[in-house]
């Protein structure tokens, strides 16, 4: 590399502060593969991720979640909050202001009437809108002026960002869907297959359950984007084939949701054509601790609050069980890049993630043994720890799944090293998660000492999720075994925090409360979190600008994607 070249390069970079790719339609074609094929491009008529994400290239909401779960204004000028006056003090209204001069891809301009129409379209009583839950408690949506729209709720909403936020609630054009209200919604095939949107691309041909062809939207608000002139969105196949087509053969630029074994994925990536990317949401594989006695001799009162557990009510036992687990190894065996060890039941979004419990990341058999020794649990003649005639013998259940059975076997071995006897049981997933009150094997009945499964929550707001561990959420015969409080945890202090959260609108304050609740659950070892499970996708090495997002559509920033040589 000589001096002349360097000078040239520096000069070039000074002369053009925007790199060469920042010109609309200059980078040719981008090819995306989803191994589930989209069947419709109207997100209000489909709950499928494939449909929502393909539509997100065309239809956009007022605000989106970024890769950290923070809200960013999209079609709106800013995110309304209590501070900026967008959300009323009593938390019952939210006022959105659209950006000026946004055009639909057909050249007409976007107005607040389109926003109001979108709400009316979804809330139509005969419509069967699949995203209706976003509009829960909405009393009315009113147009203030051409760019302003006000949403009024029937109850105070500390988190009023259901309507018009994220890929599940984009804005559709009134002119196009005006005659498609209510029962007629599914009949408007032309509109449902070729929606007019504000996104970086517009549909040129939609073949249901096969391929969508798109081209750059000539009326997109940023004149330099998107970098690609056309886009092919191929659907169908399976995760392995999709992964191969990006990582091994390079036929496609982006493959979505590659749920593959870690070594399979690593083998594919070794071909050198692409990169595997992962991002983490709120899905945590955890062990639930039963604080009540599941002894069959108790009959109908098994696993109810009437009988405390003989040894798991001792925090030292729970703590030792958690300390003896090597979470790093579990991730390596089971999930590879698609997982990371976690010590929190609420691992994300970042503002809610606590780091007060990270000590659990250390695999500490000795510490676990000491903790049990100190609590008076001494090894008996058979090597199993006991105290006052109670042996630490655990029945540990989960659903039938190869990774989970491997986890069980590993954890059983670690626990045997601290003098804990473990019996493993696996139950068919459809029975385990089936919730049938007649079956003894459901995860709600919890007729075992420990159980392992994964759970997460929708969206970014953890209030409902943290409410799972309220006392009256405990499954019991009185609730027909419904409820999400598997450990049967009851603590008035915890509920006081929850109560406070339901009255707080400020995001930072809500985050503080959520963290406090998470720490309370974790430091009492009510649940033993194991692995934070993420989403894995892959993009070719020549595709730049990909930012994987688990809080919104994966294609949320497709406008920024570009070709790198």
């Amino acid at each position: 590399m000589n001096v002349k070249f360097l000078t040239l390069a520096v000069a070039a970079s000074l002369a053009a502060p925007l790199p060469s790719f920042a010109e609309r339609a200059s980078d040719g074609e981008v090819r995306i593969i989803y191994w589930q094929a989209p069947s419709i491009l109207n997100p209000f008529l489909s709950g499928g991720t494939k449909d929502l994400e393909s539509a997100s290239l065309v239809l956009e909401p007022l605000g989106r979640y970024d890769q950290d779960g923070n809200m960013v204004a999209w079609l709106a000028q800013s995110i309304p909050t209590v501070e900026n006056g967008g959300v009323s003090e009593d938390l019952t209204t939210i006022t959105w202001k659209l950006k000026d001069g946004i055009l639909w891809s057909d050249g007409t301009s976007v107005s607040s009437h389109d926003v109001k129409f979108t709400a009316d379209y979804c809330m139509h009583p005969e419509g069967g809108c699949s995203q209706l839950s976003n509009f829960d408690d909405v009393a009315s949506v009113d147009v203030i002026d051409d760019l302003t729209v006000k949403v009024t709720f029937g109850v105070p909403k500390p988190f009023p960002y259901g309507p018009f936020m994220g890929s599940t609630s984009p804005i559709i054009q009134r002119a196009q869907f005006e005659n498609c209200m209510g029962a007629k919604a599914p009949e408007c095939t032309e509109a449902n297959f070729n929606p007019i949107g504000t996104g970086p691309f517009r549909v040129t041909e939609f073949r249901p359950n096969d391929v969508i062809s798109m081209e750059a939207n000539p009326n997109y608000r940023d004149p330099s984007k998107p970098a690609f002139a056309s886009l092919v969105f191929k659907g169908g196949g399976d995760a392995t084939a999709a992964g191969r087509s990006v990582l091994e053969t390079g036929e496609f630029d982006y493959a979505w949701n590659l749920q593959l074994a870690p070594d399979v994925l690593a083998n594919m990536e070794a071909a050198g054509k692409g990169t595997v990317v992962s991002a983490f949401g709120t899905l945590v594989e955890r062990i639930m601790v039963n604080l009540t006695n599941p002894d069959p001799a108790l009959g109908d009162e098994r696993s109810t609050a009437a009988h405390p557990h003989p040894f798991l009510t001792d925090i030292n036992v729970r703590k030792a069980l958690s300390m003896a687990i090597d979470r790093e190894l579990l991730v390596e065996i089971g999930y590879g890049v698609a997982g990371r060890p976690t010590c929190n039941i609420l691992p994300a979004p970042p503002i809610y993630a606590s780091n007060a419990n990270d000590a659990c990341l250390i695999h500490d058999i000795e510490g676990a043994n000491n903790s049990l020794d100190e609590a008076g649990w001494m090894p008996g003649p058979d090597g199993i720890r006991q105290r006052d005639g109670v042996r630490i013998s655990i029945l540990y259940q989960t659903s039938t799944n190869a990774v989970r059975q491997d986890f069980q076997a590993l954890i059983k071995q670690w626990w045997s090293e601290i003098g804990v006897e473990t019996e493993l049981r696996n139950i068919d997933a459809s029975v385990f998660f089936g919730g049938d009150p007649g079956s003894p094997d459901t995860y709600q009945k919890f007729y075992a000492d420990l159980e392992m499964y994964a759970n997460n929550f929708d969206g970014t707001d953890p209030e409902v999720y943290m409410g799972n561990w309220k006392c009256d959420e405990s499954p019991s015969p009185d609730t027909q075994w419904q409820g999400a409080n598997m450990p049967r945890y009851c603590d008035p202090e915890y509920e006081a925090l929850l109560d406070e959260m339901s009255k707080t609108g400020d995001l930072n304050e809500r985050a503080r409360l959520a963290k406090a609740m998470n720490d309370m659950l974790m430091q009492n070892f009510i649940m033993i979190p194991l692995v934070d499970r993420g989403r894995v996708s892959a993009h070719s090495n020549s595709l730049g600008g990909v930012v994987l997002n688990t809080w919104d559509s994966e294609l949320w920033n497709a406008a920024d994607w570009h070709r790198i040589d």
Binding site: A261, D263, V264, P296, A297, L329, I333, S399, T400, A402, Q405, D406, Q408, A409, L410, K412, Q413, E423, L424, R425, N426, I427, D428, V431, S439, P440, D441, Y447
Partner: protein, 303 residues
Amino acid sequence: MTDLAASGAERPPRSQWGDVWDQFKTHRGALAGTIFFAFVLLAVVLGPVIWPIDAQYIDIRARNSGPSLEHPLGTDQLGRDTLARVFAGGRASIAVGMTAMLLSLVLGTLIGVVAGFFRRIDGPLMRLTDLFLALPLLPLLLVIILLFRDALRTAFGPETGIFILVVFVIGITSWMQTARIVRGDVLALREREFVLAAKSVGTPPRRLISRHILPNVLSPIMVSATLGIANAIITESALSFLGLGFPSDFPTWGRLLFDATDYLQQYPERVLWPGLAISLTVLSVNYMGDGLRDALDPRIRGR
């Protein structure tokens, strides 16, 4: 009559069983099958003594390793020794297979013979057989396990409890074919001259069955016995798969096979050993049955 039958086995040099053995020896497949089956039995009984690695011990650093001196058949995805697991798995599988087969054989033969011999209860018994055949197996298993699992677990411990349950479940859901075949044969035999002759001299039904009917229906029973072992081994693995069988870390051949299918592409040898063990055992038992049937049939003997 009784004395003859009982002392027949002890009379040298040409006893009935001696003849059977002479005939059996000439069937090469049967002989090979017997030798192999004896070998498998010895291996699973003595294997853990010769190869003392614990089948459930996880050595995570040695996971996914190929054959070596330390692990002659390699290790699985958690570093458990495959050879030890094949031995331990064979113990469980063969024990389940044999016991469940015996149970279903006893049930099937009893019902088949009684139904074929006593015309009056033929109808009800065959309707009962139809009923069992028509029962959807899976929901039935679910109910049985739901009702008895916890009781057996507390009475006998997790593994013995499940063993009893699995054997029982497989036994009572697989006797119907045997019963139908046996009944058909008994119906035909009952009208044969030697049975009529025995009847005419006043032989009581009990003796008629044990002296004339049973020895002659032995061959279909043998064949269904051999098929029964295979069926029981496979059903046990299906039960494990649904989470209704043994705990997931308790090795059985079916379980090993099921676990290995996930790694079929990367480590094809892992399905090989349990698969080979199941198929060769089943094959050898089948050959044994075949040879035994020929040997027990006096009309074939000597040809």
